[in-house]
């Protein structure tokens, strides 16, 4: 009898432990599925669409290495003279955010995927806060719009949102995709050939001169007008950006994407991102630009928002592939 109870206890214990690992037993832990649900609730996607940045188009080009970043990271794309083909996607999220996602593919099958935004820092510091923000931005049944009290509560609890709001107010809206800066936002750990580690963020600075928009002009900007603008610009030749790595020093907030590092930090010009063509939707629609798909020489930094982006993109990809399969 005792033996039977012991066997049941062992089996039961294993099942309970598994259920805990699978997050079936609630324990106040934020799951990737719950975060993805909240992203969907704040902005219901069409079937088969990305759960964020649904509107976009595909591009192609290359990354030309300067060789200067090799002492920071041993990633093959940074080798002197290396030219790495890339596919990418330009997209928007709301009126404010413009994004460039890239997939650099190396000969040996390694890939570097990045999802860059025109905002140099993130509105919030942690994945949990981002989740709270999405929950507060959900349309409420009664009004079809978010609950202002819920939104105010989140803003009060998270003052970093104000910093972002202030930046957004004063930031100059650029005229298109080509004259815009793009940022990694999150930090990554770079490892060089000797094993030395550094935390980096990077920025793509356009070669095209920035053309600021007057407030009235910016009202007429749409995803289509932005897409047409880049297509027209590419008729006149490739569009290029300089990729600059910003290297953190001890004490910098490397795990907090809502805080920028001092402007005096070391900068290393890693190379040029050159976009040459707008391609068909089938070239990038089924790509998940997961920013944690990295080559040897670049690693996850531990930034919780970066981990959350990767997790939510993966769940979003699974859901939209399932929807596409059903059609």
């Amino acid at each position: 009898m005792v033996a039977l109870c012991a066997i049941v206890a062992v089996a039961g214990g294993l099942v309970l432990a598994f259920a805990w690992a699978a997050h079936w037993i609630p324990g106040g832990r934020l799951t990737a599925a719950a975060m993805t649900d909240a992203v969907e609730a704040a902005n219901p996607p069409g079937s088969g669409d990305r759960r964020a940045h649904a509107t976009g188009f595909c591009v192609a080009g290359r990354f030309e290495s300067s060789g200067l970043a090799q002492r920071i990271s041993r990633a093959a794309v940074f080798a002197p003279g290396a030219v790495t083909p890339l596919v990418g996607r330009m997209s928007t999220a709301g009126r404010m955010v413009r994004s460039m996602s890239l997939l650099l593919r190396m000969d040996d099958g390694q890939e570097w995927r990045m999802a860059l935004n025109n905002t140099p820092f993130f509105p919030v510091a942690t994945a949990e806060t981002f989740h709270a923000l999405n929950l507060a931005n959900r349309p409420v049944m009664a009004t079809g719009r978010p609950d202002p009290a819920a939104q105010a509560e989140v803003r009060a609890a998270h003052p970093e949102l104000l910093v972002f709001a202030e930046w957004a107010q004063s930031a100059q809206q650029t005229s298109g995709f080509a004259d815009t800066d793009y940022h990694s936002v999150n930090s990554f750990r770079a490892v060089n050939a000797s094993g030395a580690e550094a935390y980096v963020r990077w920025t793509l600075q356009p070669h095209d001169a920035m053309v600021g928009l007057q407030p009235l002009e910016s009202m007429s900007v749409t995803p289509d007008s932005l897409a047409d603008g880049l297509r027209a610009r590419l008729m006149n030749g490739p569009v290029s950006w300089t990729m600059t790595l910003h290297v953190a020093e001890g004490g910098d907030p490397v795990l907090d994407p809502s805080r920028q590092w001092p402007a005096t930090r070391q900068r290393v010009v890693a190379g040029q991102v050159v976009l040459t063509t707008v391609t068909g939707d089938d070239q990038c629609h089924a790509i998940n630009f997961d920013p944690l798909i990295l080559p040897a020489g670049l690693e996850h930094s531990g930034d919780s928002v970066l981990a959350a982006r990767s997790a939510v993109y993966a769940h979003s990809f699974n859901r939209r592939m399932r929807e596409a399969a059903g059609q």
């Binding site: 033996a3 294993l14 099942v15 798909i293 919780s304 997790a311």
Partner: protein, 178 residues
């Protein structure tokens, strides 16, 4: 008196038992978690490949060196159940990693097993294939967990209730816990 399994079988059993249990827990945890996900995925792929390789070695060993028969005290239907459950486990040890590999291939993901080693794709990129393989991987992983729990329960049944010497066979001589 039933004879022990040979040393290769014993070693492979325990190494794979640890790897598979770890893998099952890592798999469900990494799918649900946010902050633990990157580290767990980095382990999941190389460990899956290891299980595939060990599974092939183990299968070859099983086909070349048949295990000693179970004691005659065990009813025929239980012997058949044991055989069936073991066959199912072998099948899952081999198909789960392959399904995972094919799933990633169909999703256009690089199959990364070390810092710089990427395996070639074994399936074409396709939304439907990806979705089916993803679901199959999930369902079969849960089935394997259920089989593992049953396997452990049955083993302890031999050890603590039947006390028929079967449990001792998977341990090196004199090492079986009481």
């Amino acid at each position: 008196m039933t004879t022990s399994h040979n040393t290769v079988v014993q070693l492979l059993h325990w190494v794979m038992a640890a790897a598979i249990l770890a893998m099952l827990f890592i798999g469900v945890w990494m799918t649900a978690s946010i902050s633990d996900r990157p580290r767990l995925i980095a382990v999941h792929q190389p460990l899956g490949l290891l299980i595939l390789v060990l599974g092939v070695v183990r299968l070859a060993n099983r086909l070349l060196a048949r295990p000693s028969p179970l004691p005659p005290s065990i009813p025929r239907w239980q012997v058949r159940m044991a055989g069936l459950s073991h066959a199912l486990m072998y099948a899952l040890f081999l198909t789960l990693p392959l399904i995972g590999w094919a799933m990633l291939s169909a999703g256009g993901y690089p199959v990364r097993v070390t810092q710089s080693l990427v395996l070639p794709p074994i399936a074409p990129r396709d939304a439907t294939s990806y979705t089916l393989l993803r679901e199959a991987h999930r369902v079969l992983a849960h089935a394997l967990f259920a089989l593992v729990v049953l396997h452990i329960a049955a083993a302890l049944h031999h050890a603590w209730i039947r006390r028929d010497g079967v449990f001792r066979r998977i341990f090196p001589a004199g090492r079986a816990p009481r």
